[in-house]
């Protein structure tokens, strides 16, 4: 095992982990903070990838710029889904069984619709930075990994600032702890949850753009991310965004080392092993209370 190879694998894993942050942060908000088990999140990420793909094909716009432009649409979609979820399941106390089936149905419908419209071919985008690589000594920094990683960390920093500094952000953190206290502060918890869920789906637009920048995408890729996303989210301690970053980097590095030394077809299994070990030994997560 050469040191160069190992070092490069670690760096590439960190970059991959940066991308995983963007993929997971939405679930950290919906599952970690709001307690809504949105297993359809990866499907929305793939939807974001395909929107970036269409705009890139037709107008030649940069995928990441596109994803920022469609943020309001994804936010509205998320708010709408939360309304349906709230009235159909949460209000009636049926979120455990039927709410899960609802999101599974959404995951499934999105995937099948994408297959029907685009087929199962791999799709990719064009952008000036995709094929370039920075070289620092013996370390390779491919820009198609570096750009998503940096933008995703910026997005996380913005979200963390929003959650800790603004009134709405703090209300979102509070809604997971005590709804009644929030109501006493004259805040409507349902409205706060709707906003938070909208934000969590909006992050999927960005993550989708990153995904298609990093590599080609086809509709069923989303299912591979379910295990990863929830493994990172649980290991990160569910509600803690800094914990999510650490867990994402960790998984990125481990996965990359596995695929470098044992072959890429084993990589999906790593996340599950990760998830099971976490659940068995440290269910509260790395930075959990």
């Amino acid at each position: 095992m050469s040191m160069d190879l190992l070092f490069n694998a670690v760096i590439a894993g960190l970059l991959l982990g940066g991308f995983y942050v963007a993929v997971t942060v939405g679930v950290s908000i919906s599952f970690g903070i709001l307690d809504i088990v949105n297993i359809a999140h990866p499907a929305f990420i793939i939807l974001g990838s395909y929107i970036a793909y269409i705009v890139n094909q037709r107008l030649g716009l940069d995928p990441i710029v596109t994803s920022i432009l469609v943020l309001p649409i994804f936010y509205a979609l998320g708010a709408l889904i939360y309304e349906v979820y709230y009235h159909s399941f949460e209000k009636r106390g049926q979120e455990a069984l039927r709410g899960l089936a609802f999101f599974f149905g959404l995951l499934f419908i999105t995937e099948v619709l994408l297959i029907l419209v685009f087929g199962v071919d791999y799709r990719y985008v064009q952008a000036p930075y995709i094929e370039k690589t920075l070289r620092l000594g013996f370390v390779d920094l491919p820009l198609r990994m570096l750009v998503p990683c940096v933008v995703s960390l910026l997005m996380l920093a913005a979200l963390q600032l929003f959650l800790s500094r603004t009134f709405t952000g703090r209300a979102i953190m509070a809604v997971s702890q005590d709804q009644l206290a929030l109501q006493l502060m004259a805040v409507n918890p349902i409205r706060i949850k709707r906003i938070a869920f909208g934000i969590s789906i909006a992050t999927a637009a960005m993550a989708g753009a990153f995904l298609i920048v990093i590599g080609p995408v086809e509709p069923s890729v989303g299912r591979e991310y379910i295990g990863r996303v929830f493994a990172i989210c649980v290991l990160g301690g569910l509600q803690s965004l800094p914990g999510t970053v650490i867990a994402a980097m960790l998984l990125g590095v481990i996965e990359n080392i596995t695929s470098t030394f044992y072959g890429p077809s084993w990589a999906p299994a790593v996340a599950f092993g990760f998830l099971l070990l976490t659940l068995a030994f440290r269910p509260a997560g790395l930075l959990g209370r």
Partner: protein, 458 residues
């Protein structure tokens, strides 16, 4: 009814179905029937954990594929007869079910659901990387032409069909037995309030582990004969989406609270899919299943069985009478016609470049929506539903007549459309009868039902 009696009655019904299929003397009947039956087993297995305990398993495909791949493995090392293969598949999947349950069920329920989703991906990775069972290339399992059982020789497809029939009867009997035993009451207590159940001394972890093991084992058993059925098994077909989604959708659409629900759901959906896959693409047919799943969990959380029970409770409190049974049958007929209308409408829209076909497709879709609305409305006693149902059945009359006029060369088409006309005429007559209209006129009853089905808001 005692369980033993139930078992033999169900077995007799199964044998009758087998005999009826023999009369057709068509291998395809067994082929399609096997698919329907293995979905009955899968749906029942899912329901033991999902419906009775309230724990959602998204990884049905993984358990199913484990059963299938243990057969492939044994086929290469030491071929066994089908009943033994079913037992081995059940053991393997049951062990995995126990393991997954043990690692995740001590935590909140959602973790179990997520873990099963991930399990499917990981097991698929393992199988893709395991060359002995074919890897990503897949494996051929040659099906013998026929098999001799005692004095008779039957075709292998019939043998597989019969094995799956016996397995379905066993699964249904087990589910029914659980429902009426202490085990089932314990499961129901977990589903309704796990904390309260624990506080009352229900051994929740042990019961949940029994449920995951049983449920996983039946899924594995359903998968064990699959390689012989399909002849060529590859990871993407064994871990296929249709298993994950159907095994959830069937109980949810049929109704999760009793063994009847998964049976009804599986029979309806699997039969419809057999027709739909032939008529339109298999992806479109999965899309219909997904839409039905979401529609049912939102609008009718207790499935078809729940709708019928609610209807009977209000419309015929003293036991089912002729009127209420007729309305239920009409509603179910409307449901089937509605889905069939969607299938045909989509098929026409997809293939149609000509204006006529497009018009037919759109008309079929409109009719389908009317049918589905009247199915839902009639059973939930909506005051508007007789009018909508009249519109749907009325609209179907000229359509069926036109279909006969356009294609009177095929006898089958004429008979089918003729039956549609007769049923529609009966429906119109039925819906305009005094006693039926009276049922829907009293808004007080309708409000009562709405309040009941939606539950009290906290």
């Amino acid at each position: 009814m005692r369980s033993i009696v139930f078992f033999f009655v169900a077995l007799a019904v199964g044998a009758a179905a087998f005999a009826a299929a023999l009369i057709f003397n068509n291998e395809y009947v067994f082929f399609a029937g096997y698919t329907v039956l293995h979905f009955v087993v899968l749906a029942t297995a899912w329901n033991i954990l999902g419906g009775y305990c309230g724990y959602v398993n998204f990884g049905s495909a993984a358990f199913f594929a484990l059963g299938a791949y243990s057969t492939v493995f044994l086929h290469k090392t030491y071929p066994l007869p089908i009943p033994l293969l079913i037992i081995v598949g059940g053991l393997v999947s049951g062990m995995v079910g126990l393991g997954t349950g043990y690692l995740t069920l001590r935590l909140r329920g959602a973790f179990f659901a997520i873990a099963t989703l991930a399990l499917a991906v990981v097991l698929q990775t393992l199988v893709v990387n395991w060359d002995y069972v074919g890897g990503a290339r897949g494996a051929y399992v040659i099906r013998p032409n026929s098999i001799a059982i005692g004095p008779w020789t039957i075709s292998y497809m019939q043998y597989l069909f019969a094995s799956m029939m016996v397995l379905a009867v066993i699964a249904l009997t087990t589910a029914r037995l659980i429902e009426r035993s202490r085990l089932g009451y314990g499961f129901a207590a977990i589903r309704d309030d796990e904390l309260a159940a624990e506080a009352c001394g229900v051994p929740t972890l042990r019961l949940k582990l029994i449920a995951t093991t049983l449920s996983g084992a039946f899924m594995g058993m359903a998968g064990a004969p699959f390689p012989y059925y399909i002849g060529y098994l590859q990871p993407s077909s064994a871990f296929g989406l249709e298993y994950a989604v159907n095994s959830i959708a069937m109980p949810m659409i049929g109704g999760t609270t009793s063994w009847v629900g998964p049976l009804v759901g599986a029979l309806l959906l699997a039969t419809l899919q057999q027709i739909a896959t032939v008529t339109i693409s298999s992806h479109l047919n999965l899309l219909i299943v997904g839409l039905l799943l979401v529609g049912f969990v939102i609008a009718a959380p207790n499935g078809i069985v729940g709708l019928v029970r609610e209807f009977l409770r209000v419309a015929a409190p003293s036991g089912p009478d002729k009127r209420s049974v007729a309305v239920i049958l009409l509603a179910i007929y409307a449901f089937l016609s509605g889905i069939f209308g969607i299938v045909l409408g989509l098929a026409a829209l997809m293939s149609g470049r000509s204006g006529l076909l497009l018009a037919v497709g759109i008309l079929a879709l409109v009719l389908a929506v009317l049918y589905l609305a009247s199915f839902y409305g009639l059973l939930t006693m909506q005051p508007w539903s007789p009018a909508v149902a009249l519109a749907a059945f009325g609209l179907s009359l000229p359509l069926a007549a036109a279909s006969i006029a356009m294609d009177h060369s095929s006898l089958r088409n004429t008979v089918l459309e003729g039956a549609t006309v007769v049923i529609a005429l009966f429906a119109v007559w039925m819906l305009r009868r005094q006693d039926v209209t009276a049922l829907y006129r009293s808004n007080a009853i309708a409000d009562l039902v709405i309040a009941r089905t939606q539950g009290a808001a906290p």
